[in-house]
């Protein structure tokens, strides 16, 4: 049984999002045909709320809700899955200059997985940093589909992943209710817990999936001479 998860989303717990979790889940339930997700992962900016319990909402909507974090490093932004107390003691998640290589290695040692997100994005993506610094080691996967990407950014991410042989994931990076689930990741295996997710990201079979509607082609304006 396969599982489709949006691996990158922000609720109102992130300072730049206004999206309540309940509204996300309601939106996904109403739009299940277009965005057939089994669950989402909340990756709040620079924080991890160990005590947040979303089981009541999961039961209400029948959609899995997992918790992770998006942290900021000297190689750009990184999603951390399987966050533990040991990790939050080891790294100050509010620090926007966490050493990426240390993060990747230590998170792996502590039982999680750290995945660079939107690598094609200027300044906060891996591609730009790889032009100036040596590539990171032990990268399991990168996010090649990001719902917030601008033109060309996902393509740059895809090229990077192919060049280095990284696995690939997708996520909406949603900060607004209507954007949840636009991109996701399909796993061959069933994923029901954060441990399942970490296990699959480390060694399972998965691929990014894109539920964004095709962009409308807007014809170029033609200049008309006014007499």
């Amino acid at each position: 049984m396969s599982t489709i998860l949006d691996l990158h989303s922000h609720s109102e717990a992130s300072e730049d999002s206004r999206a309540p979790l309940e509204a996300y889940l309601n939106w996904l339930k109403l739009r299940h045909t277009e965005r057939p997700l089994d669950g989402i992962v909340l990756t709040e900016h620079r924080q991890f709320n160990r005590d947040a319990d979303y089981r009541a909402l999961e039961d209400k909507f029948g959609i899995l809700v997992l918790k992770a974090s998006e942290v900021e490093t000297d190689y750009g932004h990184v999603l951390v899955f399987g966050v533990t107390d040991e990790m939050t003691r080891r790294f100050d998640f509010a620090n926007v200059r966490i050493p990426a290589q240390e993060l990747i290695d230590e998170v792996a040692r502590m039982g999680g997985v750290a995945i660079p997100c939107h690598p094609g994005r200027p300044n906060v993506g891996l591609c730009e940093h790889y032009e100036k610094k040596p590539p990171l080691e032990n990268v399991v996967a990168v996010e090649v589909l990001n719902g917030g990407s601008r033109k060309g950014e996902d393509e740059r991410s895809e090229t990077l992943a192919r060049s280095y042989g990284y696995g690939t994931i997708g996520g909406s990076d949603s900060h607004l209710v209507s954007l949840i689930g636009l991109c996701g990741t399909r796993f061959d295996a069933e994923v029901r817990t954060i441990d399942d997710l970490v296990c699959e990201l480390r060694g399972g079979v998965y691929e990014p999936v894109d539920f964004r509607p095709p962009r409308k082609v807007v014809p170029h304006a033609v200049a008309v001479e006014v007499k």
């Binding site: 620079r46 900021e72 509010a94 926007v96 994005r121 300044n123």
Partner: protein, 148 residues
Amino acid sequence: MAVEYDPALIGRVFETTDPVPVTAEMVETFCSAIGETNPLHIDDAAARSGPYGALTAPPSFAVTFRNGRHFFEHVPRFGKQGFDAGKDVEFCAPIRPGDAIVLSSHVKEIYEKTGRSGSMVFVIVRSTLKNQDGEVVAHVDHRFMNRT
């Protein structure tokens, strides 16, 4: 700590304004300026039979109250340039003509983040608005972005 500042800044009220009287004319002018059509804010008779028993200002009226002239002397700056990055308003009670509103302000939060355009430090200043009865009518969070 991600960004360096004096932690004693956080939560300390640095400014309290004199009471600002709210007049019916101010509310009327504001409603006219924003195109308000809700009778609770523009029609005296309708408002009297409404839930508040009298005219009230539209919720967004809360952002019209200005901080004092020394406000920016107390707000820490980072980097060389910045701008107003928006406001969040929590509405607690209606503001009515005849009220006298006092603002008190403190630095609520300082944090750093990185984005497409570079590094930024955000300073959030919270102004609490109280009426003449000491009732909190709104909290306004002013978000200032500093480019570092």
